[in-house]
C-alpha cells in the first residue's frame, strides 16, 4: 500500500512539471546516513526498573527512565540495548517464570513521576529473549507499574496501569489477559485520578495478589500526591474480587503505598505508606498476610519523596533482610525494625534486586546508572557501559574537534569532545557544574564556560585557564518583583557581542560584562498567573518544593543572528514575545498563533538565519495532558504563524533546528526521536538509523562540520555527522537512477594511533568517519547483476577497488586514501610491510561506479591536513622514498619467487633425471644460501622469531616511511643506505646465479612440461 502510493507519487512527479513534494520517507531515503551515539556513560542516567532471570543469574534486564531496555548476559558486568526501535521510557520488566529464557514482558512509561518524566505507549512482549519486541496493547496506559505472569499459565497475565500523570484517565487500573496479551480486560478500576502503583503476587499461592492504588496528579506548576481513593487491595481469587486491607493503617488521605511479600514467608508483608501525619508515615508490617498491620518506623530514608522512591525488596532467602529505595537506599537486618544506609553510590535509589542464587549480590537502579554489589550494598561499583545520560540541553563550540556542552538530570553539567584518540571515553568528559544541569555555554571567544543548576540557584562562570569560578546569576534587587526562574532556566550568549549573556526569569536579563552586572530589559513577559505561583504548597501529602514546579517563567530566549535588537522570548505558560529594539518595547504575539491551545508551554524558539522576521516556535503541551505536535513558523515578526506539522510526526515536539544553508532543511526533536524535512515542513521523515526512539530535548547544528548534535534525555549525546548531503536532496535527484552528492574536500588527517584505554566493559563513543566518503543515491537496490566501484586518478588509472554500498536511498562508501599494498616476498613468517599501504597525495580523484553496463563517475578532492606542519617538499620526498622502497619490496618479492621456482623446478627435473640430481642439489644449495639472506626462512611470528633478513629490514624502513608524512630523517636515510647496500649485494648475487643457471633450468623444465611459464614481474605482482 505504502509502496504503491509512493510509486504513483513518483510517477506523477515525473509527469507533472510543478510537483514539489519530496515524498521519499525515512528508511527509503536515509540509507547509510547513520547517527553516532557518543554517550557519555561516565555519569550514566536514571534507571527505573531491574529484573533478573529467576534461574540464571547471568541474565539481567534493565529498564531506563528514558533510555530503553538493556540486557546483560554476564551477570551485570555489561549491558547491550535491545529496545531501540520502541519508546524509551520504561516502567517495569518481568520474566515469564514458565519460560524465562525467552519470554519477557515490558511495561513502558516510567512510574517515578518527577517533572521531567517521559511517557510510555503500552505493553511489550518478547518471545526470543529480548531480540524482538511486539506491542501487545494498552496504548494509552502511559505508565505501567507492574506485570505479573501466572506461574501456572503463561497466557494468564495481570498488568497494573498507573496511567496518565498530567490529566484524568480511565485507562488506569488492573488488567488481565487470558490469551498471552492478545486481549485485555480491566478487572479493577478505582477512578480516573487513581492508578495502580504496585501489583505483587504471593509466590506460594498465585490466587493471592496485593495491589496498591495511588491518587496523584501533576500540573506544570504543582504536584499532588494523595487522596481518599489511594488504597491497598488484596485478592484471594486471582483478581475476581478485591478487598481493602487497611486494618492498622493511618486514617485520612493516603499517598503512594509500597507493598512487598516476603518470598521465604508470604504471610509477612511490608508496606511503606505516605499519609497525612508525619508520625504515622513509613514502614508497616503485617504478619498475617494483610489482616492487620503494625507501624515500625518513620525514618527519613523510608518516607522521603514517595512519588520518586517506593520500592521494597526483601531478601529471597532471609526474611529479616529488607531493602528500601530512597535518597541513599537502606537496608534492615532485623525485619524492618531498624535501617541503615547502603554504601556510597549515586543518590536516588529507585529499585534494588537481589540475586536469588547468591543473595550477597545486589543490583541497584539510581539516578546515575546501575550499581552492583557483592556484599549486600556495603560497597558498590557502577556499570560503565550504560550511556543513559539524560541531557536537558546542549551547545557547541568552535574548537577542532568541537566540544559538546550540556547539563543533565541530577548529573550536573559536563563538556566533552566530539572526537578523541581511540574513541570518546569516560576520561574525555569534564564536570563543570553540580546539581541538576541544564544549559552550559562556552564563551564564543574566551576560555570561559557558563553553567547553571536548577532554578538558577547558581549560574557559574568558570575560567578554564585561571580556574576562577564565580556565581553570576541575576540576584534580587531593590524595587524589583521577586524573580521567578524556571527549573531549566534559559541562558544564552550573545551572537553579536561575545561578552553578552542573557538570562530569563519572568524578565529578560542581560549582561554585557560576562555576568558581573545585569539589567532587566523587559517587563514581566509571562502571564504571571497567581494561581500558578504556589509552589510552596506543592507535593500533596509530602511537601515537595524543589523548584521543579516554578511556573510563569521564561523558558527560551533567542537573539536573531541577523540583528542584535531582535530578541524572542518564550514562556512555560505559553507566552511568545518579541522585541525589535533591543528590549525597549515588547510585543506579545501569542494570540496570533492559530491552532495552539492556550497556555501551551513554549519550549523553543529558533530565530531564522534567513530573514529578520522569520522564526520557528515549538510548543510542548504534554504537561497539559496534550501530546499533539505544535511547530509554527512566522516570517513577519510573529504577526502570523503557519503550522509546519504533518501527520508524519508522532508525539509532542520540543525543539527545532534550521539549517544554515538550505532554509527548507529542518530538524525536529520530539519525545519519540528525530524528524527531518527537506522541503520546509511539507513532509517529515523519522530518522531511525542508529537513532533510538528517545526524547530529543535540544539540538544544534555545528557550522563548520555541519554535524547535527542532539541532547537526548536517556541516550546521551547523539550526532548525525555532516548533514550537508541532505541540503542537496531534491525531486530531480530522487528521480535519477544514480546521483553522486557533492562533498567538501576530504582531509587526510594526520593522527596518532594511540589513545584507547577503556576495557571492553566500558562504553566508548565512536569517532566520526575520517575517510573520504563517496556519497550517492540509488533509486533502487541492485539485488541482481554486477555493481562495482573503483577509485581512479584523473588519468583513469585504477588505484583501488572499494566494496560497494547498494541500498535504495543514500549510500556511503569510505576510502581511507590508501593505494594498494606491496606484494611481499614469501618467507616463513608474515612481514609488516604487507599490511602497510601508501597513501595517495592530495589532489583530485574519481570514483567510478559500474552498474551492469553503465558507468557513473564522480570527482572529488583530497587535501592535506591544514593543521600539519609538513611542507610540500617534504611530502614529495616522503612519497618518492616510499615509492622507491615499495618497488624494492616488490622486486625482492619477485627475486624470491624466481628462486623458489628454480628450486622447485630443479627438484622436479632431478626426480625424472637421476643424473641431474647432484647438479640440482648444488645449484639449490647456492640458491637457498642466497634466499636465506633475503627472507626469514625459520622461526615464527612471535617471540620464536628468527634473525631479521633483507625482507624484514627493508620492511621495517618501508613501514616507517610509508606511515609518516614528513620526509625521511637523516637517521632514516642512513638506515635506507645500509639496507640498500644489502639489497644491492643480494641483487648482484641473484644476477650472477640467474645468468649461470636460470635459462638452463627453464630449458629443462620446458622439456618436462611445455606448458610451464615463469611469470613476468607484472604477472607476478598481479597474481
Amino acid at each position: 500500500m505504502k509502496k504503491s502510493l509512493l510509486f504513483s507519487i513518483i510517477s506523477f512527479s515525473a509527469l507533472s512539471i510543478n510537483a514539489q513534494e519530496i515524498t521519499l520517507k525515512g528508511k527509503e531515503l536515509f540509507g547509510d546516513l547513520e547517527a553516532r551515539q557518543i554517550g557519555p556513560a561516565i555519569m550514566s542516567g536514571r534507571v527505573s526498573d531491574l529484573a533478573m532471570h529467576p534461574k540464571n543469574n547471568q541474565i539481567i534486564f534493565l529498564g531506563a527512565a528514558g533510555g530503553g531496555i538493556w540486557k546483560s548476559s554476564d551477570g551485570g558486568a555489561s549491558f547491550v540495548p535491545v529496545f531501540d526501535k520502541h519508546i524509551q521510557s520504561i516502567g517495569t520488566i518481568t520474566f515469564d517464570p514458565n519460560n524465562p529464557d525467552n519470554v519477557i514482558w515490558a511495561g513502558t512509561g516510567e512510574t517515578w513521576t518527577r517533572n521531567s518524566v517521559s511517557v510510555g505507549d503500552g505493553i511489550y512482549k518478547s518471545t526470543d529473549g529480548g531480540l524482538n519486541w511486539t506491542n501487545m496493547g494498552l496504548p494509552k496506559s502511559e505508565r505501567i507499574s507492574s506485570i505479573i505472569v501466572d506461574p501456572r499459565d503463561s497466557n494468564n497475565v495481570w498488568v497494573g496501569v498507573l496511567g496518565a500523570l498530567w490529566g484524568d484517565s480511565e485507562e488506569r487500573g488492573i488488567y488481565n489477559s487470558k490469551d498471552g496479551g492478545k486481549t485485555w480486560n480491566k478487572i479493577l478500576y478505582v477512578d480516573n485520578k487513581t492508578g495502580c502503583s504496585d501489583l505483587v503476587i504471593d509466590p506460594s499461592n498465585p490466587n493471592v495478589m496485593y495491589a496498591s492504588f495511588w491518587e496523584f496528579r501533576r500540573t506544570a506548576w504543582s504536584f499532588n500526591s494523595g487522596g481518599n481513593a489511594s488504597a491497598l487491595f488484596k485478592t484471594t481469587d486471582g483478581g475476581k474480587t478485591w478487598n481493602k486491607i487497611h486494618n492498622g493503617f493511618p486514617a485520612g488521605k493516603l499517598g503512594r503505598i509500597a507493598i512487598a511479600v516476603t518470598p521465604s514467608n508470604p504471610n509477612i508483608l511490608f508496606s511503606v505508606i505516605e499519609c497525612e501525619k508525619d508520625t504515622q508515615k513509613g514502614l508497616y508490617k503485617s504478619e498475617d498476610a494483610g489482616k492487620t498491620w503494625k507501624h515500625l518506623n518513620s525514618d527519613f530514608a523510608l518516607v522521603v519523596r514517595p512519588f520518586y522512591f517506593s520500592r521494597i525488596t526483601i531478601d529471597p532467602k532471609n526474611p529479616e533482610i529488607i531493602y528500601k529505595g530512597g535518597l541513599n537506599g537502606s537496608i534492615s537486618r532485623d525485619g524492618g525494625k531498624t535501617f541503615r544506609n547502603l554504601g556510597a553510590m549515586h543518590s536516588d535509589i529507585h529499585d534494588i534486586i537481589v540475586d536469588p542464587i547468591d543473595t550477597n549480590r545486589i543490583y541497584v537502579a539510581t539516578d546515575g546508572g546501575m550499581y552492583r554489589s557483592w556484599n549486600n550494598g556495603s560497597t558498590l561499583d557502577i556499570v560503565k557501559n550504560l550511556p543513559l545520560s539524560q541531557y536537558y540541553h546542549i551547545t557547541l563550540d568552535n574548537e577542532e574537534p568541537y566540544n559538546i556542552y550540556g547539563g543533565l538530570q541530577d548529573n550536573g553539567s559536563w563538556y566533552g569532545p566530539s572526537k578523541s584518540d581511540g574513541g570518546i571515553e569516560a576520561r574525555d568528559w569534564n564536570s563543570v557544574g553540580y546539581g541538576d544541569g541544564f544549559r552550559v555555554l562556552k564563551h564564543p571567544t574566551k576560555k570561559i564556560i557558563y553553567s547553571e543548576m536548577q532554578g538558577a540557584e547558581n549560574i557559574w562562570r568558570y575560567n578554564l585557564e585561571t580556574k576562577e569560578l564565580k556565581t553570576i546569576q541575576p540576584l534580587q534587587e531593590k524595587g524589583v518583583a521577586k524573580l521567578r526562574f524556571n527549573w531549566n532556566t534559559p541562558i544564552v550568549t550573545g551572537l553579536h557581542n561575545p561578552d553578552r549573556i542573557y538570562a530569563g526569569s519572568q524578565f529578560v536579563h542581560v549582561s554585557d560584562d560576562m555576568g558581573a552586572s545585569w539589567k532587566i530589559i523587559s517587563p514581566d513577559l509571562t502571564t504571571n498567573d497567581k494561581l500558578k505561583l504556589n509552589q510552596e504548597n506543592s507535593g500533596g501529602l509530602s511537601k515537595d518544593n524543589s523548584g521543579a514546579e516554578n511556573h510563569c517563567t521564561l523558558f527560551t530566549i533567542a537573539e536573531s543572528p541577523l540583528s542584535k535588537d531582535i530578541i524572542w522570548a518564550g514562556a512555560d505558560d505559553g507566552n511568545v514575545q518579541i522585541t525589535q529594539d533591543g528590549g525597549k518595547t515588547w510585543k506579545n504575539v501569542t494570540a496570533n498563533i492559530i491552532g495552539l491551545p492556550k497556555n501551551t508551554w513554549c519550549y523553543h524558539i529558533e530565530a531564522s538565519n534567513f530573514a529578520k522576521g522569520s522564526a520557528y516556535a515549538v510548543f510542548d503541551g504534554h504537561t497539559s495532558n496534550d501530546q499533539n505536535t505544535y511547530v509554527f513558523k512566522t516570517t513577519d515578526f510573529g504577526a502570523t504563524w503557519t503550522s509546519i506539522v504533518t501527520k508524519d510526526i508522532d508525539g509532542f515536539a520540543r525543539c527545532i533546528q534550521e539549517d544554515y544553508v538550505n532554509e527548507n532543511l529542518l530538524f525536529l526533536g520530539t519525545e519519540k526521536g528525530l524528524y527531518i524535512t527537506v522541503d520546509g515542513g511539507k513532509n517529515w521523515s523519522k530518522f531511525e538509523n542508529n537513532m533510538p526512539a528517545v526524547a530529543v530535548m535540544h539540538l544544534d547544528l555545528h557550522k563548520k562540520t555541519n554535524d547535527l548534535v542532539m541532547a537526548t534525555h536517556g541516550r546521551g549525546v547523539i550526532i548525525l555527522d555532516d548533514v550537508s548531503i541532505l541540503r542537496q536532496v531534491t525531486n530531480d535527484i530522487i528521480a535519477s537512477e544514480v546521483h553522486f552528492f557533492k562533498t567538501k574536500p576530504f582531509v587526510k588527517e594526520e593522527n596518532s594511533s594511540f589513545g584507547a584505554t577503556a576495557s571492553e566493559l566500558e562504553f566508548v563513543g565512536p569517532n566520526p568517519n575520517s575517510s573520504a566518503q563517496i556519497v550517492y543515491y540509488l533509486k533502487k537496490r541492485n539485488t541482481f547483476g554486477k555493481i562495482e566501484m573503483e577509485i581512479q586518478d584523473m588519468n583513469g588509472n585504477k588505484i583501488v577497488n572499494l566494496p560497494v554500498s547498494n541500498q535504495k536511498g543514500i549510500n556511503i562508501v569510505s576510502w581511507n586514501f590508501n593505494e594498494k599494498g606491496p606484494k611481499v616476498a614469501t618467507g616463513k613468517t608474515l612481514d609488516y610491510s604487507g599490511f602497510t599501504t601508501p597513501l595517495v597525495p592530495a589532489g583530485k580523484y574519481k570514483a567510478v561506479l559500474t552498474k551492469g553496463k553503465d558507468k557513473f563517475t564522480h570527482e572529488f578532492e583530497v587535501i592535506n591536513d591544514p593543521k600539519s606542519p609538513v611542507k610540500e617538499a617534504a611530502r614529495a620526498d616522503q612519497r618518492a622514498t616510499t615509492k622507491m622502497l615499495f618497488n624494492k619490496v616488490e622486486r625482492l618479492a619477485y627475486m624470491v619467487y624466481e628462486i623458489d621456482e628454480m628450486i622447485k623446478l630443479n627438484g622436479e627435473i632431478a626426480a625424472k633425471d637421476k643424473s641431474y640430481a647432484k647438479t640440482a642439489d648444488k645449484i639449490n644449495a647456492e640458491l637457498n644460501k642466497l634466499k636465506n639472506t633475503m627472507v626469514i626462512t625459520t622461526g615464527d611470528n612471535y617471540v620464536g622469531s628468527a634473525e631479521k633478513q633483507l625482507r624484514e629490514k627493508l620492511g621495517v624502513i618501508y613501514v616507517s616511511i610509508a606511515s609518516q608524512y614528513d620526509a625521511p630523517s637523516p637517521s632514516q636515510k642512513a638506515n635506507i643506505e645500509s639496507v640498500m647496500d644489502l639489497y644491492n649485494k643480494a641483487e648482484v648475487e641473484f644476477k650472477r646465479l640467474e645468468k649461470l643457471h636460470f635459462s638452463k633450468i627453464l630449458e629443462k623444465a620446458k622439456k618436462l612440461n611445455p606448458e610451464y611459464k615463469l611469470k613476468t614481474f607484472e604477472e607476478f605482482i598481479a597474481s
Binding site: 528508511k27 526470543d128 537496490r781 539485488t783 560497494v804 613468517t829 609488516y832
Partner: protein
Amino acid sequence: MNITTTNSVTNKNYNMKTLKNLLAATVLLFTCFSATAQTADEIINKYFENIGGKDKLLKVNSFKMNMVTNYNGLEIPVEIFNDKAGKMYVKINFQGKEITQLAFDGKTGWSTNFMTMKAEKLDSETTENMLLQTKEFPDPFLNYKEKGFKVELIGKETKEGTECFKIKLTKTPITVAGKKEENVIFYYFDTENYVPIMTESEIKEGPAKGQMSTSTMGDYQEVEGMYFPFTMNQGGQAMTVKTITINQPVDNKEFEMKTE
C-alpha cells in the same frame, strides 16, 4: 633495545589479532551465505524458483568460492570450500602463503595459529557447532522440515530502503559456553525478487552478546543456472565473490589437520 623488542612483539600481536578477527567475520559470512534464504513456504518456494530451482540445488555436492575481502585497504583473497559431507575450509592467501584459517574434515575442526603458523584444534564446542552446519548445505531452507528446522513469516519490514518479508528460521540449537541456545536467523527477502538481501542473528558471545549482528547480500549473479549473491557485508566487513565453482572435488588432505 629492550623497548624495541617489546614494541615489535606488541605490534605483531595486534596485527595478528585484527587479521584473525577479520577472518572470523569471513567465516560467519560464509555461514550466512550458505544459509541463503527462505520464508513461509510460499516465499521460500518462490525464492528457490528465482535462484534456479530446487532440482539444481539438490544436485550440488560442493561449492568453492573465491572471494576478496577488503581489510584496511588491502585486498585479501579468500577461498571457501564447503561440501555435502560437512567438509569445509577457509583459506586466505597472504604474502604468498596459503593459510588455512579454518577447516573441518567432518570430525575435527582446526585452525592455523597466527603466531606459529601451525594447525591447532578448535575447542570442542565450536567443532560440535560446525558439525551442525553440515545439514545446512547447500541451503538451510532446502527441505528445511526434514532438517528439523522451523520457519515463520514475521511480517514486512523496510531494509536497505527496500520492502522485505521478514522470516524467522530456527535451526538446531547450538552450544554456547556449555549451554544449549536457540539458533535463529532472521531473513529479509526482497518482496520484488524473493531473495534475501539481509540477515540478522543474535551475537552469542562477548560484550555484544544479546545484540543483533547484521549481514547484507546483493549483486546476485548466475553460476551454472543458479543465482548467488556476489557481494556481502557483515558488520562493515565487505566481501566480493570472484568465482563460484560447483561440484569440483577437492583432495581430502585439504581438510585434514596438518601435523607438520
